[in-house]
């Protein structure tokens, strides 16, 4: 059965590119338009990996991670940040919030697939 990735980003083109890349590698992709939408979709479905942007309306990536880590079924689910932000301070905040990795945009599809495979198989 295909593993499910929840892709959270307010940019529709970015979500489309993530979905295109991961679906080609055999993953099932659920898309969410911001942190709030991501949280609702994560509550309603079983997800193997969360891939989230940082700067989004309504709820940003760090807030989403903190809320997910507070949910019993998301304490061990890998969460990767995919963002334009690349500062060490921001990465440290992500790590402290519970992120398992940090990917800086723009992403290369092959490298994204390699990372996802490494994290969830």
């Amino acid at each position: 059965m295909a593993k499910t990735v929840l892709a959270v980003d307010d940019s529709s083109s970015l979500r489309q590119m993530v979905a295109f890349s991961l679906k080609a590698a055999g993953y099932h992709v659920i898309e969410a338009v911001d942190g709030q939408d991501g949280l609702e979709k994560a509550r309603n479905q079983t997800v193997d990996l969360v891939l989230t942007d940082q700067n989004m309306p309504r709820m940003d990536g760090l807030s989403l991670i903190k809320l997910l880590r507070g949910m019993a079924n998301y304490q061990k689910v890998p969460i990767l940040m995919l963002t334009t932000e690349s500062g060490d301070e921001m990465k440290a905040q992500g790590r402290a919030a519970g992120a398992n990795g940090w990917l800086v945009k723009p992403f290369d599809p092959q490298r994204l697939i390699e990372v996802v495979k490494k994290v969830i198989g």
Binding site: D9, S11, S13, L14, M17, F20, S21, N55, T84, E85, S86, M90, K91, R95, A99, N100, G101, W102, L103, V104, K105, P106, F107, D108, P109, Q110, R111, V115, K118, V119
Partner: protein
């Protein structure tokens, strides 16, 4: 005399505030627009190159299929050729996916630019409405108080604007970014 000194100080404060605020935000707008242009240029170059390369690979693929169908050589020879072309198409499609992410980066820069321009418009609006409250027969104390209020509003607007702006997009190229697993 102290009243005149206070008035002079408020006028000076207002003028330097207008100047600093305007220069700071317009400089940021200029930087963001230059960066947007750089990213768009690089993205279109990347996408154009990918499009041409994919077209060439698909044409080569079609020729190989036609040769295969006409039975000019053993099928096994064509299998490797088709596999190589398929790999080439995948490589160029990946490059196109990286290039297509320009919208995400540039929309953040444009969003910042719009917010700064809106902030400047509100700033100038505050100056206009503040100035309208100044009467011809206002004495220096009243003018000083009015200028002081305008200065306070402008300072608050500046802080508010910086608070709502998204973080700086540092990317100047459409090449793939770093990856770090914790």
């Amino acid at each position: 005399m102290p009243g005149k000194k206070l008035l002079g100080s408020q006028v000076k404060h207002l003028l330097s505030g207008v100047s600093d605020h305007g220069i700071q935000h317009l400089a940021e707008v200029e930087t963001d627009l230059v960066q947007t242009a750089l990213l768009l240029n690089e993205a279109i170059e990347k996408l154009g190159a990918s499009f041409i390369a994919i077209h060439a690979a698909v044409t080569a693929q079609q020729e190989t299929i036609e040769q295969l169908l006409s039975g000019q050589a053993p099928a096994v020879d064509y299998a490797a050729k088709l596999k190589a072309v398929q790999g080439e198409i995948g490589h160029h499609a990946n490059a196109a996916v990286t290039g297509l992410q320009f919208q995400d980066l540039t929309s953040q820069l444009i969003d910042r630019t719009v917010r700064r321009v809106t902030g400047l418009r509100e700033f100038l609006g505050t100056l206009g409405s503040g100035g309208a409250g100044m009467l011809e027969d206002s004495d220096s104390e009243q003018v000083t108080q009015l200028l002081s209020r305008i200065n306070e509003v402008l300072a608050a607007q500046n802080v508010q604007l910086n608070g709502v702006l998204r973080k700086v997009v540092k990317q100047h190229h459409m090449g793939s970014g770093d990856i770090e697993l914790f």
